[in-house]
Symmetry: C2
Subunit: 417 residues, 2 copies
């Protein structure tokens, strides 16, 4: 077993060749990686069986087993994703803008890879393949550290990816894989700031806090998504209901699902029918006293406590509050939100614009579901994660967010006076 | 004296009003701040006398006294800088791009301030005013912590700026000033990650390392500038000489001054005349054995040791090495450089492009002096600092680098299927 440091050092060395490779070569590698995943499908599934049996033996919960499990279809989805990423526009080498200075210097900002990206993740083995695809496409080497419960699956996937890279003509070390189930491997990774430029942790809040506290390099992260839908005075009932049901019910376990409904007092008559629709979908409402008084059906209502505001339920629960004004809604979001995603339902032009301007979150929507806060849905082509801190990237991150720019300057002998 | 936490908390509260203020209001405030600096010039100069007398009494070196000293002209330069920053294009609210999704959602990336920026700096009192100007223009509140040696000067400047803000109609708390000469105030600041979004340290390497190690929030930094000039085989003598003299001699104490000269062996005949010109300007050369053999005048040459490569002299010293190839030059830069700024002197088109592509530094120049690695010189309008880490910003940082973008989404009832 190679040491974490030797894997990261090899990734750093390989990153230079990768960074100056042509887009065509990176594309060819991604095709070869997809082919290798398909060719090694039986081996990947066999490795996955080892992980599944161990997980069953240790009494892992059913929904965790489902996240871990692979079948032929899921392996094919991984291969298809590699092909799709291969076809995205190449960000590397792009000159975002260029201008000429009075002294004749031509100054451009040229897009370059970040270098080496560390990904620390839990559960789903497809992250191994998806994250590697985005890194290779954007010219970055990657060091992958998956969860111990998926070690054999991740290992088999990583080996196939490395084989594809070599076939495509890039060093296999471009995709570094930490072949260890030890937690200490994470700690070893987090001090390698000479080798790894940035860490992206993907997993529960505990993992993310641990990584943020111990990493010597920058970390791109989001802790949680406490997304609000604000139903303004001028909202239409049908639209508000559709958006609320979609935002809460379609997939409650994800970070862009709604967790709180705020209703302007002048739209209070909308609350009862919206609540009925949500309750029909099995939602439990955690309501403020004014909301409680407006609702007839109290079987699925509980009184909200202070801890309900700011709660990321990730379940069929929704906190509900009547507010006296849009500014009260904005202040509530500022106090209890997570800078992730908020939506307003309104037909008032000026208030829509004010909400878009004043709400500080990474995605702010008018008359659309919070579930659109996703790189693919917003049109980034792909998503490596979502950042709720403002530095480097804010919101869903695509290929561009895995790059930076350097200044390139074309002169003809200029000196500074 | 207010606590550090109360100053930062007040800055955070004020930042919301600032962030949604109009560009016209921020511009008016900057004009009022300039007027207040001019009006309080006598008080600022009197405060500066207190600092100067204390510094003289404690035996501060002459060049440090010069950095600390203000006179009417220097105060006027501060006021002029405020007016100039007021006139720069407003980055806030700018939609960098907008597109429509197949489902009709219109998605835009809207530029917003980072929030609250902490600046920790040493020496020159004008940083108080210059940093505040850039933060206010870009819609950011700022928390300033200057060096203890300039406490009275910084205090007088900050009070004038706050008076101008209030006159212009924004909260004075937008410019927070930590009124303490205690080192512990820095530590208090570095844990306030709820209040301060990013820290920019400006000063010596010791300060920057201390801040990086202890800050709970992201830090934008550069440790040092070890800038290389590579004279390629096809370089012209006159251009190479002019660039080297400018890069080394014009202002040796700054981070974008050249520290190492690399010469292709096929341009070895250029070394002697370039060295003569540098020696004439008082430069001491730290030379490799091959360079030594090429130089006749050894009075200003010393033999380079391993520690000369990678040395940031900040003085009239230059390390010199003959290389066998451009790739050897690039490998040398990769090993000993600081990702700051490198220049090639060449007349070979393909090699110029290869250098621009392969050199990983934040500014890479062809046929121009390294001294152009500066926000003003590159056309950013102003500069808050230079980043040599790739996250968020890489290279000279202007107003745009004090902002981020959020996604704004215009829908008409879309839900995710």
């Amino acid at each position: 077993m190679k040491s974490v440091e030797s894997i990261a050092t090899a990734a750093r060395a390989a990153s230079y060749e990768l960074a100056s490779s042509s887009g065509a070569k990176r594309e060819a590698c991604l095709f070869a990686m997809a082919a290798a995943i398909r060719a090694h499908s039986p081996g990947i599934l066999a490795a996955n069986q080892l992980d599944l049996r161990a997980a069953q033996a240790s009494g892992t919960a059913g929904h965790m087993l489902d996240r871990l499990a692979l079948d032929e279809k899921r392996v094919e989805v991984m291969a298809t994703a590699l092909v799709e990423v291969a076809g995205l526009p190449d960000p590397i080498g792009r000159i975002d803008s260029m201008w000429t200075r009075p002294n004749g210097l031509r100054v451009g900002r040229r897009r370059i890879p970040l270098g080496v990206i560390g990904i620390i993740y839990e559960a789903r083995p497809n992250v191994t393949s998806d994250a590697a695809a985005l890194c290779v496409k954007s010219g970055n080497a990657v060091v992958l550290k998956g969860g111990s419960e998926a070690l054999h699956s991740n290992q088999a996937i990583a080996m196939a990816l490395q084989e594809g890279l070599a076939q495509g003509g890039l060093p296999a070390e471009v995709v570094g894989f930490i072949d260890s189930s030890e937690r200490s491997a994470v700690n070893e990774m987090l001090v390698l700031d000479e080798q790894i430029d940035v860490i992206i942790p993907r997993g529960g809040e505990g993992l993310i806090r641990f990584v943020s506290e111990h990493a010597k390099m920058p970390v791109i992260k989001h802790y949680k998504g406490v997304c609000h839908v604000y139903v303004d005075a001028s909202a239409e009932l049908e639209m508000a209901t559709n958006i609320l049901v979609n935002a809460k019910v379609q997939r409650p376990s994800v970070c862009n699902a709604a967790e709180t409904l705020l209703v302007h007092r002048d739209a209070a008559t909308l609350l009862a029918p919206i609540a009925e629709a949500l309750i029909e979908h099995g939602v439990t409402l955690h309501v403020c006293p004014r909301s409680h008084a407006l609702l007839a059906n109290h079987a699925y209502c509980v009184e909200a406590t202070e801890s309900d505001w700011g709660q990321e339920y990730l379940s069929l629960d929704l906190s509900v509050k009547i507010v006296d004004s849009m500014d009260e809604a904005i202040a509530h979001i500022r106090r209890y939100g997570s800078l992730h995603t908020e939506a307003i339902v309104t037909n008032d032009y000026r208030r829509a614009e004010r909400f878009l301007e004043r709400v500080d979150s990474s995605t702010v929507l008018v008359n659309a579901s919070t579930r659109f806060a996703d790189g693919g849905e917003l049109g980034l082509g792909a998503e490596i994660g979502i950042s709720t801190t403002k530095l480097h990237a804010f919101g869903p991150m695509g290929l561009d967010e895995l790059t930076t720019t350097k200044f390139v300057v074309y002169g003809n002998g200029q000196v500074r006076s």
